[in-house]
Protein backbone atom coordinates (compact mmCIF):
# COMPACT_ATOMS: atom_id res chain seq x y z
CA UNK A 1 0.00 0.00 0.00
CA UNK A 2 2.67 2.61 0.83
CA UNK A 3 4.41 1.77 -2.45
CA UNK A 4 1.23 2.44 -4.38
CA UNK A 5 0.69 5.79 -2.70
CA UNK A 6 4.23 6.86 -3.36
CA UNK A 7 3.81 6.16 -7.03
CA UNK A 8 0.50 7.97 -7.25
CA UNK A 9 1.75 11.06 -5.54
CA UNK A 10 4.78 11.09 -7.75
CA UNK A 11 2.78 10.92 -10.95
CA UNK A 12 0.02 13.27 -9.96
CA UNK A 13 1.33 16.44 -8.46
CA UNK A 14 -1.84 18.30 -9.40
CA UNK A 15 -3.91 20.29 -6.99
CA UNK A 16 -7.41 19.15 -6.15
CA UNK A 17 -8.93 21.97 -8.15
CA UNK A 18 -6.97 21.16 -11.28
CA UNK A 19 -7.69 17.48 -10.78
CA UNK A 20 -11.36 18.27 -10.72
CA UNK A 21 -11.15 20.36 -13.84
CA UNK A 22 -9.53 17.38 -15.54
CA UNK A 23 -12.24 15.13 -14.18
CA UNK A 24 -15.08 17.31 -15.39
CA UNK A 25 -16.03 18.68 -11.96
CA UNK A 26 -18.07 21.84 -11.81
CA UNK A 27 -16.20 25.11 -11.61
CA UNK A 28 -18.92 26.86 -9.68
CA UNK A 29 -17.24 26.21 -6.33
CA UNK A 30 -17.92 29.72 -5.12
CA UNK A 31 -21.64 29.31 -5.66
CA UNK A 32 -21.61 26.01 -3.76
CA UNK A 33 -19.78 27.59 -0.86
CA UNK A 34 -22.40 30.28 -0.67
CA UNK A 35 -25.27 27.85 -1.09
CA UNK A 36 -24.18 25.21 1.35
CA UNK A 37 -24.94 26.88 4.63
CA UNK A 38 -25.12 25.63 8.19
CA UNK A 39 -28.84 24.95 8.23
CA UNK A 40 -29.04 22.19 5.67
CA UNK A 41 -29.09 19.42 8.22
CA UNK A 42 -25.52 18.37 7.64
CA UNK A 43 -22.74 18.73 10.10
CA UNK A 44 -21.01 22.08 10.19
CA UNK A 45 -17.26 22.23 10.01
CA UNK A 46 -14.54 23.95 11.90
CA UNK A 47 -13.20 25.52 8.74
CA UNK A 48 -16.61 26.67 7.59
CA UNK A 49 -16.30 30.22 8.82
CA UNK A 50 -13.02 31.09 7.16
CA UNK A 51 -13.32 28.63 4.29
CA UNK A 52 -9.67 27.70 4.82
CA UNK A 53 -8.00 26.17 7.81
CA UNK A 54 -4.75 24.74 6.51
CA UNK A 55 -2.77 27.13 8.71
CA UNK A 56 -4.05 25.07 11.62
CA UNK A 57 -1.30 22.53 11.02
CA UNK A 58 1.45 25.06 10.20
CA UNK A 59 3.54 23.90 13.16
CA UNK A 60 3.88 20.52 11.40
CA UNK A 61 4.81 21.91 8.00
CA UNK A 62 3.33 23.72 5.05
CA UNK A 63 0.08 22.68 3.34
CA UNK A 64 -0.46 18.96 2.81
CA UNK A 65 2.90 18.13 4.45
CA UNK A 66 1.71 19.80 7.65
CA UNK A 67 -1.58 17.89 7.59
CA UNK A 68 0.20 14.58 6.91
CA UNK A 69 2.71 15.22 9.72
CA UNK A 70 -0.09 16.09 12.11
CA UNK A 71 -1.78 12.78 11.19
CA UNK A 72 1.56 10.98 11.47
CA UNK A 73 2.04 12.29 15.01
CA UNK A 74 -1.37 10.95 16.02
CA UNK A 75 -0.71 7.61 14.34
CA UNK A 76 2.64 7.29 16.15
CA UNK A 77 0.76 7.86 19.38
CA UNK A 78 -1.88 5.24 18.57
CA UNK A 79 0.76 2.71 17.49
CA UNK A 80 2.76 3.19 20.70
CA UNK A 81 -0.40 2.95 22.77
CA UNK A 82 -1.49 -0.39 21.28
CA UNK A 83 2.04 -1.79 21.52
CA UNK A 84 2.13 -1.01 25.24
CA UNK A 85 -1.35 -2.42 25.75
CA UNK A 86 -0.37 -5.68 24.07
CA UNK A 87 2.67 -5.92 26.38
CA UNK A 88 0.67 -5.01 29.49
CA UNK A 89 -0.85 -8.48 29.79
CA UNK A 90 -4.23 -6.93 30.63
CA UNK A 91 -5.95 -8.61 27.67
CA UNK A 92 -6.24 -12.07 26.23
CA UNK A 93 -8.27 -13.97 23.66
CA UNK A 94 -10.45 -12.10 21.21
CA UNK A 95 -9.90 -8.68 22.79
CA UNK A 96 -6.13 -9.10 22.59
CA UNK A 97 -6.44 -10.11 18.94
CA UNK A 98 -8.49 -7.01 18.17
CA UNK A 99 -5.96 -4.79 19.93
CA UNK A 100 -3.08 -6.43 18.09
CA UNK A 101 -4.88 -6.02 14.76
CA UNK A 102 -5.71 -2.36 15.36
CA UNK A 103 -2.11 -1.72 16.45
CA UNK A 104 -0.84 -3.29 13.25
CA UNK A 105 -3.20 -1.12 11.17
CA UNK A 106 -2.00 2.03 12.96
CA UNK A 107 1.61 1.00 12.24
CA UNK A 108 0.70 0.68 8.55
CA UNK A 109 -0.76 4.18 8.69
CA UNK A 110 2.54 5.43 10.14
CA UNK A 111 4.47 3.82 7.28
CA UNK A 112 2.13 5.18 4.59
CA UNK A 113 2.07 8.72 6.02
CA UNK A 114 5.86 8.77 6.41
CA UNK A 115 6.25 7.72 2.77
CA UNK A 116 3.71 10.33 1.64
CA UNK A 117 5.49 13.16 3.49
CA UNK A 118 8.78 12.17 1.87
CA UNK A 119 7.20 12.00 -1.58
CA UNK A 120 5.91 15.54 -1.14
CA UNK A 121 9.47 16.60 -0.34
CA UNK A 122 8.82 17.10 3.37
CA UNK A 123 10.49 15.85 6.50
CA UNK A 124 8.45 13.31 8.47
CA UNK A 125 7.50 14.42 11.98
CA UNK A 126 9.59 12.78 14.71
CA UNK A 127 8.15 9.95 16.74
CA UNK A 128 6.98 11.42 20.04
CA UNK A 129 7.91 9.85 23.37
CA UNK A 130 4.74 8.64 24.96
CA UNK A 131 3.43 7.33 28.25
CA UNK A 132 -0.01 5.90 28.92
CA UNK A 133 -1.78 4.99 32.14
CA UNK A 134 -2.41 1.25 31.93
CA UNK A 135 -4.23 0.43 35.14
CA UNK A 136 -6.98 -1.98 34.26
CA UNK A 137 -8.57 -3.53 31.20
CA UNK A 138 -11.58 -1.27 31.62
CA UNK A 139 -9.67 2.02 31.84
CA UNK A 140 -7.42 0.96 28.96
CA UNK A 141 -10.43 0.19 26.75
CA UNK A 142 -11.94 3.53 27.69
CA UNK A 143 -8.72 5.29 26.76
CA UNK A 144 -8.57 3.35 23.47
CA UNK A 145 -12.13 4.45 22.73
CA UNK A 146 -11.26 8.07 23.47
CA UNK A 147 -8.13 7.96 21.32
CA UNK A 148 -9.86 6.31 18.33
CA UNK A 149 -12.90 8.59 18.38
CA UNK A 150 -10.54 11.55 18.62
CA UNK A 151 -8.40 10.23 15.77
CA UNK A 152 -11.42 9.82 13.50
CA UNK A 153 -12.57 13.35 14.36
CA UNK A 154 -9.06 14.71 13.70
CA UNK A 155 -8.98 13.27 10.17
CA UNK A 156 -12.47 14.57 9.51
CA UNK A 157 -11.38 18.02 10.66
CA UNK A 158 -8.60 18.10 8.05
CA UNK A 159 -10.19 16.40 5.01
CA UNK A 160 -11.42 19.61 3.42
CA UNK A 161 -8.03 21.31 3.89
CA UNK A 162 -6.13 18.80 1.78
CA UNK A 163 -5.08 20.08 -1.64
CA UNK A 164 -3.80 16.98 -3.44
CA UNK A 165 -6.49 14.54 -4.59
CA UNK A 166 -4.15 11.62 -3.99
CA UNK A 167 -3.36 12.70 -0.45
CA UNK A 168 -7.08 13.20 0.11
CA UNK A 169 -7.92 9.73 -1.23
CA UNK A 170 -5.33 8.21 1.13
CA UNK A 171 -6.54 10.25 4.10
CA UNK A 172 -10.13 9.17 3.43
CA UNK A 173 -9.05 5.52 3.27
CA UNK A 174 -7.46 5.93 6.72
CA UNK A 175 -10.28 8.07 8.14
CA UNK A 176 -12.91 5.38 7.66
CA UNK A 177 -10.64 2.78 9.24
CA UNK A 178 -10.32 4.99 12.33
CA UNK A 179 -14.12 5.19 12.32
CA UNK A 180 -14.32 1.39 12.28
CA UNK A 181 -11.87 1.16 15.19
CA UNK A 182 -13.85 3.74 17.16
CA UNK A 183 -17.15 1.92 16.64
CA UNK A 184 -15.59 -1.40 17.63
CA UNK A 185 -14.24 0.00 20.89
CA UNK A 186 -17.52 1.76 21.61
CA UNK A 187 -19.28 -1.59 21.12
CA UNK A 188 -16.86 -3.31 23.54
CA UNK A 189 -17.52 -0.51 26.03
CA UNK A 190 -21.29 -0.79 25.62
CA UNK A 191 -21.45 2.74 24.25
CA UNK A 192 -23.19 4.11 21.18
CA UNK A 193 -21.37 3.31 17.93
CA UNK A 194 -22.30 6.77 16.66
CA UNK A 195 -21.92 9.14 19.62
CA UNK A 196 -22.40 12.20 17.38
CA UNK A 197 -25.56 10.77 15.78
CA UNK A 198 -25.96 10.36 12.01
CA UNK A 199 -23.26 12.96 11.23
CA UNK A 200 -19.80 12.57 12.77
CA UNK A 201 -18.32 15.78 14.11
CA UNK A 202 -14.81 17.00 13.27
CA UNK A 203 -12.23 18.10 15.83
CA UNK A 204 -9.82 20.99 15.34
CA UNK A 205 -6.06 20.68 15.75
CA UNK A 206 -5.90 22.69 18.94
CA UNK A 207 -8.40 20.57 20.84
CA UNK A 208 -6.92 17.30 19.53
CA UNK A 209 -3.39 18.27 20.60
CA UNK A 210 -4.67 19.39 23.99
CA UNK A 211 -6.37 16.01 24.48
CA UNK A 212 -3.24 14.00 23.67
CA UNK A 213 -0.83 16.31 25.52
CA UNK A 214 -0.95 14.25 28.75
CA UNK A 215 0.45 11.22 26.88
CA UNK A 216 3.37 12.98 25.19
CA UNK A 217 6.42 13.17 27.43
CA UNK A 218 9.00 14.39 24.96
Amino acid sequence: MPERKEREIETRGVSRRRFMALGGGSAAAAAFLAACGDDDGMTTTTMGASGRGSDETAQFGKGDVGILNYALTLEYLETAFYAEVVKSGLFEGGDLETIRKFGSEEAQHVAALTAAVKELGGKPAPKPKTEFPLESAKTVLELAGTVENLGAAAYLGQAANIESPEVLASALAIHSVEGRHAATLNTLLGQSITPDGAFAKPADVKSVLKSVEPFIVG
Binding site: M20, F32, K201, P202
Partner: protein
Protein backbone atom coordinates in the same frame (compact mmCIF):
# COMPACT_ATOMS: atom_id res chain seq x y z
CA UNK B 1 -20.42 -12.83 -15.22
CA UNK B 2 -20.72 -16.34 -13.94
CA UNK B 3 -21.90 -16.43 -10.35
CA UNK B 4 -19.22 -18.76 -9.08
CA UNK B 5 -16.53 -16.22 -9.92
CA UNK B 6 -18.18 -13.29 -8.16
CA UNK B 7 -16.40 -11.81 -5.15
CA UNK B 8 -19.73 -10.81 -3.58
CA UNK B 9 -22.61 -12.66 -5.24
CA UNK B 10 -25.11 -11.14 -2.78
CA UNK B 11 -24.42 -7.69 -4.29
CA UNK B 12 -25.23 -8.95 -7.77
CA UNK B 13 -28.69 -9.88 -6.48
CA UNK B 14 -29.58 -6.34 -5.38
CA UNK B 15 -31.94 -4.83 -7.91
CA UNK B 16 -32.16 -1.14 -8.62
CA UNK B 17 -35.10 -0.20 -10.81
CA UNK B 18 -36.79 3.08 -11.57
CA UNK B 19 -40.54 2.92 -12.11
CA UNK B 20 -40.44 4.34 -15.61
CA UNK B 21 -37.56 2.10 -16.63
CA UNK B 22 -35.60 5.25 -17.46
CA UNK B 23 -32.55 5.12 -15.22
CA UNK B 24 -31.04 8.35 -13.96
CA UNK B 25 -27.29 8.93 -14.03
CA UNK B 26 -27.11 8.33 -10.26
CA UNK B 27 -28.91 5.01 -10.58
CA UNK B 28 -26.58 3.96 -13.36
CA UNK B 29 -23.51 4.78 -11.25
CA UNK B 30 -25.00 3.00 -8.25
CA UNK B 31 -25.67 -0.10 -10.34
CA UNK B 32 -22.12 0.08 -11.62
CA UNK B 33 -20.73 0.44 -8.09
CA UNK B 34 -22.68 -2.63 -6.93
CA UNK B 35 -21.54 -4.55 -9.98
CA UNK B 36 -17.93 -3.51 -9.38
CA UNK B 37 -18.14 -4.79 -5.80
CA UNK B 38 -19.90 -7.99 -6.84
CA UNK B 39 -17.36 -8.85 -9.51
CA UNK B 40 -14.01 -7.69 -8.17
CA UNK B 41 -14.57 -7.06 -4.50
CA UNK B 42 -15.18 -3.93 -2.52
CA UNK B 43 -11.75 -2.46 -3.23
CA UNK B 44 -13.01 -1.80 -6.72
CA UNK B 45 -15.93 0.34 -5.66
CA UNK B 46 -13.95 3.50 -4.82
CA UNK B 47 -11.97 3.68 -8.09
CA UNK B 48 -15.09 2.85 -10.09
CA UNK B 49 -17.18 5.56 -8.43
CA UNK B 50 -14.40 8.09 -8.82
CA UNK B 51 -14.03 7.36 -12.50
CA UNK B 52 -17.78 7.30 -13.17
CA UNK B 53 -18.34 10.61 -11.37
CA UNK B 54 -15.43 12.18 -13.24
CA UNK B 55 -17.04 11.15 -16.53
CA UNK B 56 -20.43 12.59 -15.60
CA UNK B 57 -21.08 16.30 -15.70
CA UNK B 58 -23.11 16.84 -12.59
CA UNK B 59 -20.51 18.56 -10.39
CA UNK B 60 -21.26 18.52 -6.67
CA UNK B 61 -25.00 18.21 -7.32
CA UNK B 62 -24.35 15.06 -9.35
CA UNK B 63 -22.14 13.65 -6.59
CA UNK B 64 -24.69 14.50 -3.89
CA UNK B 65 -27.45 12.90 -5.96
CA UNK B 66 -25.36 9.76 -6.34
CA UNK B 67 -24.82 9.71 -2.56
CA UNK B 68 -28.56 10.30 -2.10
CA UNK B 69 -29.38 7.31 -4.31
CA UNK B 70 -26.99 5.16 -2.27
CA UNK B 71 -28.61 6.35 0.97
CA UNK B 72 -32.10 5.62 -0.45
CA UNK B 73 -30.88 2.08 -0.94
CA UNK B 74 -29.53 1.77 2.61
CA UNK B 75 -32.55 3.47 4.19
CA UNK B 76 -34.94 1.15 2.32
CA UNK B 77 -32.81 -1.84 3.21
CA UNK B 78 -33.02 -1.20 6.97
CA UNK B 79 -36.64 0.01 6.95
CA UNK B 80 -37.54 -3.27 5.27
CA UNK B 81 -35.27 -5.24 7.61
CA UNK B 82 -37.25 -4.02 10.59
CA UNK B 83 -40.14 -6.00 9.11
CA UNK B 84 -38.45 -9.03 7.60
CA UNK B 85 -34.91 -9.64 8.92
CA UNK B 86 -36.26 -11.68 11.84
CA UNK B 87 -33.95 -9.87 14.25
CA UNK B 88 -34.33 -9.68 18.01
CA UNK B 89 -32.48 -8.24 20.98
CA UNK B 90 -29.29 -6.32 20.30
CA UNK B 91 -29.49 -6.72 16.52
CA UNK B 92 -33.04 -5.39 16.45
CA UNK B 93 -31.84 -2.27 18.27
CA UNK B 94 -28.93 -1.88 15.88
CA UNK B 95 -31.19 -2.14 12.83
CA UNK B 96 -33.41 0.58 14.29
CA UNK B 97 -30.40 2.86 14.81
CA UNK B 98 -29.04 2.24 11.33
CA UNK B 99 -32.46 2.82 9.73
CA UNK B 100 -32.68 6.16 11.52
CA UNK B 101 -29.16 7.25 10.55
CA UNK B 102 -29.65 6.38 6.87
CA UNK B 103 -32.98 8.21 6.77
CA UNK B 104 -31.26 11.29 8.21
CA UNK B 105 -28.59 11.01 5.52
CA UNK B 106 -31.34 10.91 2.87
CA UNK B 107 -32.95 14.04 4.27
CA UNK B 108 -29.68 15.95 4.63
CA UNK B 109 -28.51 15.08 1.13
CA UNK B 110 -31.89 16.04 -0.40
CA UNK B 111 -31.72 19.37 1.42
CA UNK B 112 -28.14 19.95 0.23
CA UNK B 113 -29.02 19.25 -3.40
CA UNK B 114 -31.85 21.78 -3.17
CA UNK B 115 -29.58 24.36 -1.54
CA UNK B 116 -27.18 24.03 -4.43
CA UNK B 117 -30.07 24.70 -6.82
CA UNK B 118 -30.40 21.09 -7.97
CA UNK B 119 -33.26 18.65 -8.07
CA UNK B 120 -32.96 15.72 -5.65
CA UNK B 121 -32.79 12.35 -7.39
CA UNK B 122 -36.01 10.33 -7.33
CA UNK B 123 -36.06 7.25 -5.17
CA UNK B 124 -35.60 4.06 -7.19
CA UNK B 125 -37.24 0.74 -6.33
CA UNK B 126 -34.97 -1.80 -4.71
CA UNK B 127 -35.12 -5.51 -4.25
CA UNK B 128 -32.91 -7.18 -1.65
CA UNK B 129 -32.11 -10.87 -1.96
CA UNK B 130 -32.21 -12.46 1.50
CA UNK B 131 -34.58 -14.76 3.29
CA UNK B 132 -33.33 -14.98 6.87
CA UNK B 133 -31.31 -13.13 9.53
CA UNK B 134 -27.99 -14.59 8.38
CA UNK B 135 -28.70 -13.55 4.79
CA UNK B 136 -29.68 -10.08 5.95
CA UNK B 137 -26.46 -9.72 7.97
CA UNK B 138 -24.27 -10.87 5.09
CA UNK B 139 -25.88 -8.38 2.73
CA UNK B 140 -25.79 -5.61 5.35
CA UNK B 141 -22.04 -6.08 5.78
CA UNK B 142 -21.42 -5.93 2.05
CA UNK B 143 -23.69 -2.91 1.56
CA UNK B 144 -22.08 -0.93 4.40
CA UNK B 145 -18.58 -1.71 3.17
CA UNK B 146 -19.70 -0.72 -0.33
CA UNK B 147 -21.10 2.55 1.01
CA UNK B 148 -17.80 3.40 2.70
CA UNK B 149 -15.87 2.69 -0.49
CA UNK B 150 -18.32 4.65 -2.63
CA UNK B 151 -18.04 7.75 -0.46
CA UNK B 152 -14.26 7.42 -0.27
CA UNK B 153 -14.16 7.22 -4.05
CA UNK B 154 -16.41 10.24 -4.47
CA UNK B 155 -14.53 12.41 -1.93
CA UNK B 156 -11.65 13.61 -4.13
CA UNK B 157 -14.16 14.64 -6.84
CA UNK B 158 -16.03 17.07 -4.60
CA UNK B 159 -15.34 20.74 -5.36
CA UNK B 160 -16.84 22.45 -2.34
CA UNK B 161 -14.99 22.19 0.97
CA UNK B 162 -18.29 22.35 2.84
CA UNK B 163 -19.80 19.51 0.81
CA UNK B 164 -16.61 17.47 1.30
CA UNK B 165 -16.62 18.01 5.07
CA UNK B 166 -20.29 17.06 5.25
CA UNK B 167 -19.72 13.93 3.15
CA UNK B 168 -16.84 13.07 5.49
CA UNK B 169 -19.20 13.28 8.45
CA UNK B 170 -21.48 10.78 6.72
CA UNK B 171 -18.82 8.33 5.55
CA UNK B 172 -17.39 8.04 9.06
CA UNK B 173 -20.85 7.03 10.26
CA UNK B 174 -21.08 4.46 7.44
CA UNK B 175 -17.73 3.05 8.56
CA UNK B 176 -19.04 2.81 12.12
CA UNK B 177 -22.13 0.99 10.86
CA UNK B 178 -19.93 -1.36 8.85
CA UNK B 179 -17.86 -2.22 11.94
CA UNK B 180 -20.95 -2.81 14.08
CA UNK B 181 -22.56 -5.09 11.49
CA UNK B 182 -19.27 -6.95 11.05
CA UNK B 183 -19.13 -7.57 14.80
CA UNK B 184 -22.65 -9.06 14.56
CA UNK B 185 -21.32 -11.35 11.83
CA UNK B 186 -18.26 -12.24 13.94
CA UNK B 187 -16.14 -10.82 11.12
CA UNK B 188 -13.13 -8.50 11.47
CA UNK B 189 -14.61 -5.04 12.12
CA UNK B 190 -11.67 -3.44 10.35
CA UNK B 191 -10.36 -5.94 7.81
CA UNK B 192 -7.58 -3.77 6.37
CA UNK B 193 -5.55 -0.67 7.22
CA UNK B 194 -6.67 0.97 3.94
CA UNK B 195 -9.31 0.38 1.35
CA UNK B 196 -7.42 -1.57 -1.29
CA UNK B 197 -7.64 -0.27 -4.83
CA UNK B 198 -7.20 -2.44 -7.88
CA UNK B 199 -6.82 -1.53 -11.51
CA UNK B 200 -9.53 0.81 -12.80
CA UNK B 201 -9.50 -0.55 -16.34
CA UNK B 202 -10.52 -3.96 -15.00
CA UNK B 203 -13.55 -2.68 -13.21
CA UNK B 204 -14.69 -0.48 -16.05
CA UNK B 205 -14.65 -3.44 -18.36
CA UNK B 206 -16.64 -5.47 -15.87
CA UNK B 207 -19.35 -2.90 -15.39
CA UNK B 208 -19.52 -1.59 -18.95
CA UNK B 209 -22.96 -3.14 -19.53
CA UNK B 210 -24.31 -0.96 -16.72
CA UNK B 211 -22.96 2.25 -18.21
CA UNK B 212 -24.34 1.91 -21.71
Amino acid sequence: MSNQELAHPELAGVEVAEDSGDLSRSEVILKGALAAGAVYGLGMVAPFVRRALAASEGGDVGILNFALTLEYLEADFYAEARRRAGASGELKGLIGLLAMDEQQHVEALSASVKKLGGKPAAKPKFDFPYSNTAGFLALAQTLEDTGVSAYNGAGPMIASKEVLAAAGGIVQVEARHAAAIRLQNEAEPSPAAFDPALDEAQVLKAVEPFLA
